[in-house]
């Protein structure tokens, strides 16, 4: 699993990659009420807006951790966005994606580096 500085994760699950927000991000946002992701089959460049997460408190954008194409949006998050609060880094995945260039993933932080990064925030 790799993490971006803007608190998204990307991980290979089976054949595909999945993207979500980190546990730190869900804790910061508190109870999520709505997740909007750009549509399936659209592409987005690294660092550009991939969607918006709404909590009781606010609406926050999340960003593509690498350049990618959306294959499938997690069907569970439409009606139960709270699964992200319960399990942000596994069942609370937001989209299945295909990275444009897998090498870009190497620029992201691994779990240990991300943990260090959080300490500095």
């Amino acid at each position: 699993m790799r993490y971006s500085k803007t608190h998204e994760w990307i991980d290979k699950v089976g054949e595909h990659y999945r993207v979500g927000i980190s546990n730190y991000a869900q804790e910061h946002l508190s109870d999520l009420t709505f997740v909007e992701c750009i549509p399936e089959n659209t592409s987005v460049e690294k660092g550009k807006r991939m969607g918006t997460i709404e909590s009781v408190k606010s609406a926050e954008d999340f960003y593509a951790p690498c350049s990618l194409k959306i294959i499938k949006i997690n069907p569970a998050i439409a009606d139960t966005p709270e699964i992200i609060n319960k399990d942000a880094e596994k069942d609370g995945w937001i989209a299945e994606v295909r990275p444009t260039d897998e090498k870009e993933l190497e620029e992201l932080m691994d779990a240990a580096a991300y943990k260090e990064y959080l300490k500095g925030l």
Partner: protein, 372 residues
């Protein structure tokens, strides 16, 4: 700018507080529970809030009451000693310098409780309006702490800290009483949640002792510490104003639907401007709306009606108790009626909404009308 801390700051971490900057202060946005859970705890049981960042300005002297009456829109002469009123303090244009609570101790003593973000602005404004009034104006915000206990169990909990019978304090009345072992406090049956409850003003040096005492008293009654996140969603459901959102220097209390807190039977700053607004007809009006499509309205989003941009959202959220996506915002006076269809622009997309009656949430609880 260095952020300020209330006298209760050190208790946040041991209570699991998530601290964020707010209006120049380091305040807990929530504690251990989520914002929704804290919100529901106040609706169903009770919550304790550190609201020590709020400001208190004391007016004392022969003309204290008449000066207060000149400063604010509501009529403090109609209050009994020991009664509180909500009011707006207007500038000469009829815009809101702030909204506040006025505590009438007597003819020669009135305490104004103002918003944290406006303390210095209000203090300077009040000083500038003194003129020939015989009044001493003192900003006592630094030395005062404020703890709110709100919710259906609030009275039962706070009662455990005092021998004074709290049932005798009516809605929007206050008493100076002793809590615990000799903590002097001003206790009013007021709040910012839409629930029954109390706001307790006391010397900052006693704040931690009182907080711990109330927490202990509420331990088996479901009392939880509540952060600013739930404070905002609670006040929003009850359509209580948030200065900077529903009110600002350019917004009049008449447009905000606060004419009940404006008395034209007396002279006050901004009266002429408000009378003119009334004679000319109000241009805009604050309404509540419910989203018909799945989207959450947020502060600053544009409101459309019949394809035209007509106003802006002042506050909006997923309402945790009502379980609906709701908003407040200003629209032209003519389209203010409930049942009117409007649209909210949410990240470039038009989402349908319906103007509804407010407040969204109203508690049917028993209130005594006066101090007994």
């Amino acid at each position: 700018m260095e952020l300020k801390r209330t006298p209760l700051f050190d208790l946040y971490s041991e209570n699991g507080g998530h601290v964020v900057p707010f209006a120049g202060w380091e305040m807990p946005v929530r504690f251990n529970a989520s914002i929704s859970e804290e919100h529901l705890a106040v609706r169903e049981k009770a919550g304790i809030f550190d609201v020590s960042h709020m400001g208190e300005i004391l007016l004392q002297g022969k003309d204290a009451l008449s000066f207060a009456n000149y400063l604010i829109t509501n009529d403090v002469r109609k209050l009994q000693d020991g009664q509180v009123c909500y009011s707006v303090m207007c500038n000469d244009r009829g815009g809101a310098v702030d909204d506040l609570l006025a505590y009438k101790f007597g003819e020669s003593k009135v305490m104004l409780v103002v918003n944290a973000s406006n303390i210095d602005k209000d203090h300077e404004w009040i000083l500038s309006k003194r003129g020939n009034f015989n009044v001493d104006i003192k900003n006592i915000s630094e030395e005062m702490a404020q703890i709110a206990v709100q919710g259906p169990k609030a009275q039962e909990i706070l009662q455990k800290t005092t021998t004074f019978e709290l049932d005798k304090i009516g809605f929007f009345f206050f008493k100076e009483i002793v809590l615990g072992e000799g903590i002097n406090a001003i206790v009013s049956r007021t709040g910012y949640t839409g629930e029954d409850g109390f706001e307790v003003y006391l010397s900052s040096v006693n704040a931690i002792a009182l907080w711990n005492m109330i927490m202990k008293a509420g331990k088996n009654l479901g009392l939880q510490p509540i952060g600013l996140g739930a404070r905002d969603t609670l006040r929003f459901e009850a359509k209580l104003m948030l200065y900077g959102n529903e009110l600002d220097d350019e917004t009049s209390p008449l447009s905000a639907g606060l004419s009940w807190a404006v008395s034209f039977e007396k002279d006050f700053v901004g009266k002429d401007a408000l009378l003119k607004q009334q004679a000319d007809g109000l241009k805009k009006y604050l309404v509540g709306f419910e989203m018909s499509e799945r989207a959450i309205p947020r502060h600053g989003y544009a409101i459309y009606c019949g394809g035209e941009k007509v106003g802006a959202v002042t506050s909006g959220t997923f309402a945790p108790f009502l379980q609906k996506n709701l908003g407040l915002g200003y629209v032209p006076y003519e389209i203010r009626k409930s049942g009117t269809e409007i649209e909210i622009e949410v990240r470039g997309e038009m989402k349908k909404a319906l103007i509804v009656k407010t407040p969204f949430y109203k508690k049917q609880y028993k209130k005594t009308k006066e101090n007994i």
